[in-house]
Symmetry: D2
Subunit: 427 residues, 4 copies
């Protein structure tokens, strides 16, 4: 408890001294001596925080993470962990190109009923023979913003960019062997030019490597050659972690499609609903309701399932913002069946990097059989995306059905004894 | 390891039998005997999952949560936890009405640099005397959707709703002593009517209690009295966990404002930037870039800070979607200073319920001094919201400054030796 | 041709001299002597323009407008008119509260087929017994923008506004006997505050009188009392002649609903279509297509009919922008019928002022029986709005049907001989 | 007045008989005998309408249009014209590639002050040496919508489209010598596929020829070869006459840029304003106001000038909807000057077809020197677009300045005697 620690300035300090200095404010939490082990630093910060706030942090302290990795690669001023309950749904039958079979899917959530409800959707999909899933690897984007003197310089600048696409490709691809240059898409007006770079980043979500590549392109090639200054390496035309039309139109990360045909017995047994009621809720809620609300999410709750999946598998939870966009369709087929689909145009996702190497997250990925293979670049993440598509579909089906069976059913019971007005069903 | 467990059907089964039945698929993960303790059930599921997927789950198993609570109130089919690294920033000086003083703020994230960067923003705010923060408690919403026969019935229906507001208030408030009825806002066209109910839910985020209240209002009052059927209890005009204009205009949860005046020395010392450069990035990125992108987020990265704060404090991470909306302003004041502000119109937040009672999250809330007091209804959450506002502001300042100091500075170095074109600064 | 004209400076000038001075550039087109009659001034400008551009303008010269009125109240630097072809559709059976009966509707357009197509829609509506139409008079809005020192002053300012609503009402209503104050709706963030004033402007579209009222309120009351400066009398939160979520949510001008139930024989005889095909086009085009496009218009072509109606009846054609917003619904009823409706939340409209007093426009209004009656304030414009709703519905029905009968029918012919895949109809 | 007319059925009918039959409702307005001359038919319809509605239509009757053309190519059930007052602004100095010089621009409007205000903007631009204008010819679009059985058929379908682009080009270009195929852009989800065809249509606005080309492509190539049915030839992903993100991102028609640098003396003399005030209004109104409103128009009033220009020159006034989108920038340059620009991404425009051949509109085009030349395909319309860009810029400058000089100035007067709080200018 009082072993001697050597500070940067080589003045031996006891752990207690360091805690005191944090508590007293002489030292900030990020100013602990560099030669402390990450574990020691975490303990010192925690102890100081406990004293300052008079709060025992024993649960936050309770974890099994590799602190060296976590504190260096994921979280500065590390003091411990938030523990997020993890449940499992499945088996979920996925009929993708990279994920083809039955999967148990770990979901980390604090929202009661989410796991149970999604699990019910998995059962319905399983009964229906599985969800067909396809994924397009749109690629990761970053859009530096530049300042010109006006339209004439802008046009010259864009011409230069177009003429030097090969140079841009060479330079950016040289910054990482995982990166493939795909495109530069410009947008310009007044004195402002955005260049939306798009890259295939293989199994990585790619935000960081793409930023580095753009930085090099801007600083070593574009600015020196054109004299047009870059104002910010990210000009919000990328656009990261904000809902936006550009990502809806052009995609970002993975673009995911999943679908299933549900027949009457499955609807009845697993979802306690009918084709007609499901289609009615789809029409009034996912279509008209989102239209009325001016929403960019024409779905019931992609964000819920996404957040639970993202936290379990080490994705960036702020990307749930982008993943909340998309369109659920539920269409009658024949008299009693429905075709149900989800469409997510903007899902950043990775099987390496970020939180994926953390100990619990790595286990969750292993449960899904997701492990990058250099021989099969990008396929681990495509597999992850396909499973995600199927589980989001499961979540949609179950919640949509809940609205019909709980609410419409009840409505029918209570109102329906003959006196229900003839129903002008849209379906 | 092989102790006898009594199943629902009173047939004694060993734990090993149960694992076998899960592995073999005879039993689903949610079908374990009810008389198993939650801990036992978790172990059995985990063991089965390990066998099925050939994946050791020892880290997921490593936690200190109260399993009874977690598995009943947060996460079905519980198998353990995702551990999310937690760091701390601060002290952050907050000048709110409910949070007034210096705070250390726990953030749970897997994104390298986020904590360090936000911490830098905290230092700048501290140096500037603190962030002024104000919060409006807009209230939680839920919007059932109804089907009428057309405009004439719709108008009668809406007239009925208007005439019975007192009845709706009485009934909905009777469903929870935490709930105060605020408003019903209708939106109607064709044969569809949305009623957006809005409630003050005190210290709870409120989604669940509001849903229950609406359910009662619909089923006991509105449908019986009007004969107009409710199609779904949530008609997406609420709108939950999707970006939407209605929430932008009307607000949802808390509407948060935070601001600070930064003078040249603070900008220079803590943020390595100048007023001019910050304002330039603000203009091209947060305003023009988001306009070009068709985004609803006119900010740098609210979602990042929000996600880390939400996970640490037990909020619903899917609500990051709504919290990503908003407008950052950075405006020159005098020759060398800037006024910086954030505005978040749509932040669902709670100090009780959901994930806030989990062991690590409870500790994080305690670090912030957030603990509900029945005598001061709603104030714990308002305090939480004020701290959130200040930390989001810190995150914005630091990232915005990073663009100027790293990128503009470098641009200046490389291009700037006299040949930089005269800068048409927007500021 | 060379009669003497007395200029402002009392130096007699011949008409020829004035033309010369315009042609030579010594005098601008708006600098003709004030004592010229409007007709003479128009002739002089036209003659000069003919010489300058070597273009005979005999058709532009050919009109029957009261030049005094047109040049003073509608169009400076008057040189003549644009002649827009006017056709008539009907009889259109309207079942509104203010327009109840059969109407012939003049439409001024240059787009071939628009009148014929809309006329077909009128026939279908007539056969179906007429369109039920209802209109809400939302009122006209104007939103000055103010600058404060930050959130604290903003909250004080908004409190002041709330406390002085009666004063604001009194002052604004004193500026015109046609104006009724309805509401001030604030929106604020950073150092910016918008106050969206909303007024009932009776039979006038109201933009001008509302602007004058706001000007008085700002300059005589708000600024002097609060010291908070108004930056612009219109802060684009009004919002005039731009598509915007705020108008979608809150409405502006008139909010119009029209609907009709069409049975199989009517669909077949007048629209050459079926319920199933119409509903299919509605689903893929008006709902999914507009969702995919990120559009605010979930309709086929409100703007076309609106533009033709607006030009014929003297409305402001730039308001077509706002009128293009809205939602068409076409829903199956029973096996062979459809319920069709239009919804326009944002239609500025007037029966007095603007272009309504021009000679041809006045005649078009008279054809519709629209003439303001001081005893029945606002009703003339409500009548106009109801007729507009019905004719827009007619236009939608006909165009939507055209897609099905021309295109689907052809598709059926060519593909349909047995080998058409079973149709996954959304309906 | 009672000369004998031969009806289709060869039964001689007097004009009076025909009027009677219209008035009595035995005959609809579009059912007059085909052998009537268009003039006679117009007179008969007008006379009937006068009787039915007891309204003299002498002004509507007063016109100089070629009735044969107008009634066949522009407006069915022709009865006369709406006369829209036309004024002229200028000279406007345009520095484009196709329009380089001084122009007088005819504007047809009923909104008082629009011409005078725009004229003031022209003076400021003239004084500043002219507006630099550039136009990109994005092309006209049409997006048929198709129905597939799901993602697998969709992918096959899109692959087919991609593989047959040359065939699509050949077929579509064969439908008109004015058409050049540019691109097919797909958007797909669920069972729905949109193909957004884009064509260069030369001097024509192109909507009709593009529709015909798509019809041929769909019916002769795509449907027969793929078996995938087209649900509607326009699937609203085009998107015509509705505000939409896709057009913002991808452009439609012409994409127009115009800009000017205004120095202090010009600002003072012509616009009665200062750089600082203009930039302040720009910031609070065009940027923050439109952001707050959820608008797609970040400008003061493009739609006003556009509507007046469109009506004068025979454009489709419903396209004002699309033209209302765009971004005005006003940025300080040095201490006292501003750089001002407009950007319109979505302006359908033509120099032939539609209303451009009408007699008054033809004259207005001639005033602008716009006349298509087969040798210089598309250049007449590009010239028209450049002039439009400059005049829209003139309109913006003048209105923006009006806000500052009238309102800010007055505010300054009344409040400003020393007690105005130090202004936190954004500029």
């Amino acid at each position: 408890m009082s072993k001697t620690i050597h500070s940067v300035a080589s003045v031996p300090q006891t752990r207690e001294d360091l805690v005191r200095s944090l508590v007293g404010g002489e030292r900030r939490f990020h100013e602990l001596p560099k030669d402390l082990s990450p574990e020691e630093a975490a303990e010192i910060r925690r102890q100081a925080l406990e004293e300052i706030t008079q709060t025992p942090l024993e649960n936050i302290a309770h974890h099994s993470l590799d602190v060296v990795r976590a504190s260096h690669r994921n979280c500065e001023n590390f003091i411990g962990v938030a523990q997020i309950p993890m449940g499992v749904v499945g088996p979920l039958r996925v009929r993708g190109k990279y994920a083809d079979g039955d999967f148990y899917v770990p979901l980390a959530t604090t929202e009661a009923a989410l796991v149970a409800s999604t699990n019910r959707g998995c059962a319905a999909i399983r009964e229906a023979g599985g969800a067909v899933v396809r994924v397009e690897d749109v690629g990761m984007t970053r859009a530096p913003v530049f300042r010109t003197s006006g339209i004439i310089q802008t046009q010259q600048f864009l011409q230069w960019i177009q003429d030097h696409e090969d140079d841009l490709r060479r330079l950016t691809e040289s910054t990482s062997r995982h990166l493939k240059f795909l495109e530069v898409r410009p947008y310009a007006f007044g004195t402002t030019v955005f260049l939306r770079f798009r890259f295939d980043s293989g199994d990585a979500m790619g935000m960081n490597m793409v930023t580095i590549a753009c930085d090099r392109a801007v600083n070593e090639l574009i600015e020196p050659a054109t004299g047009v200054p870059c104002v910010a390496l990210s000009g919000n035309y990328c656009v990261d972690k904000k809902p936006a039309a550009i990502n809806w139109q052009e995609g970002r990360g993975k673009r995911i499609y999943a679908e299933v045909l549900l027949e009457a017995p499955t609807l009845h047994r697993y979802l306690k609903t009918t084709a007609r009621d499901l289609a009615e809720v789809q029409y009034r809620k996912n279509l008209l309701g989102s239209i009325a609300a001016g929403s960019m999410g024409f779905n019931a709750h992609y964000a819920n399932v996404l957040a639970a999946f993202f936290i379990a598998t080490g994705q960036d939870p702020a990307h749930v913002v982008e993943g909340s966009l998309g369109i659920t369709c539920i269409e009658p087929r024949g008299p009693d069946s429905v075709f149900a689909s989800i469409f997510m145009p903007d899902v950043p996702l990775g099987a390496v990097g970020g939180g994926t190497a953390l100990d619990t997250q790595r286990e969750a990925l292993a449960v899904l059989g997701v492990s990058p293979d250099p021989e099969r670049r990008g396929e681990a993440t495509l597999r992850l995306a396909e499973i995600l598509g199927a589980v989001v579909l499961a979540g949609e089906l179950s919640l949509m059905a809940a609205f019909t069976s709980q609410d419409l059913a009840r409505a029918h019971e209570k109102l329906g004894r003959g006196e229900l007005p003839s129903r002008p069903m849209p379906t």
